[in-house]
């Protein structure tokens, strides 16, 4: 079974601090998506990474896909209260019979305190 482990599970920081959350697996993924989910809302897609070693930036957010495509990280610079939410990663893996499946992590719950 392919699993995506996210860490830390919970993170509470002060406004202005930097942070990194991780999404790790022992399996190779062909692509990986990051979402942010606010309470009472559905997840919102932030980015999709597809190439090993790829780095994408979205304002203060930097996403990296590991060279071996087994892991990914999300770095937030100068966090703001508006960054508060549940950060989910989801990866595309291949199973027997070339049947692709989307695997979800459990998420990192981030609280940025003013």
């Amino acid at each position: 079974t392919q699993l995506l482990e996210q860490s830390p599970q919970f993170l509470s920081i002060q406004e202005g601090e930097n942070l990194t959350v991780y999404c790790n697996s022992s399996s190779v993924f062909s692509s990986l998506q990051w979402y942010r989910q606010e309470p009472g809302e559905g997840p919102v897609l932030l980015v999709t990474v597809v190439t090993g070693g790829e780095v994408k930036k979205l304002k203060r957010l930097t996403f990296q896909f590991g060279d071996a495509r087994k892991d990914s990280s999300l770095h937030i610079t100068a966090a703001q209260p508006g960054d508060t939410g549940l950060y989910l990663c989801a990866g595309t893996g291949f199973f027997a019979g070339n049947n692709r499946k989307l695997i979800w992590g459990l998420g990192t719950s981030l609280a940025v305190n003013p």
């Binding site: 692509s31 998506q33 559905g42 997840p43 989910l88 979800w104 998420g107």
Partner: protein, 114 residues
Amino acid sequence: EAGVAQSPRYKIIEKRQSVAFWCNPISGHATLYWYQQILGQGPKLLIQFQNNGVVDDSQLPKDRFSAERLKGVDSTLKIQPAKLEDSAVYLCASSLLDRFYGYTFGSGTRLTVV
């Protein structure tokens, strides 16, 4: 563009009762998904439609859950009879292209079974 619309936002029912959720995807999105998200977990795919045909329903508990997509646009998800463990947020999502590159979620319906 208008987002994915879901209703109702909240529903409280007693166990063994029936309940139905409605979803209207983004116009032009041929693919529609229903997900179940239990508190503290990532979303779990219940069923995927391509137009009005079912592509993947391998994780749908078919003894109590059913879904349909009339005319390839709106969709309904029904639970009959509900169990306590069905308490969760039910998310609808749609995509224009392959889901493995990201899609748009609705705000979800929070179901509480008492």
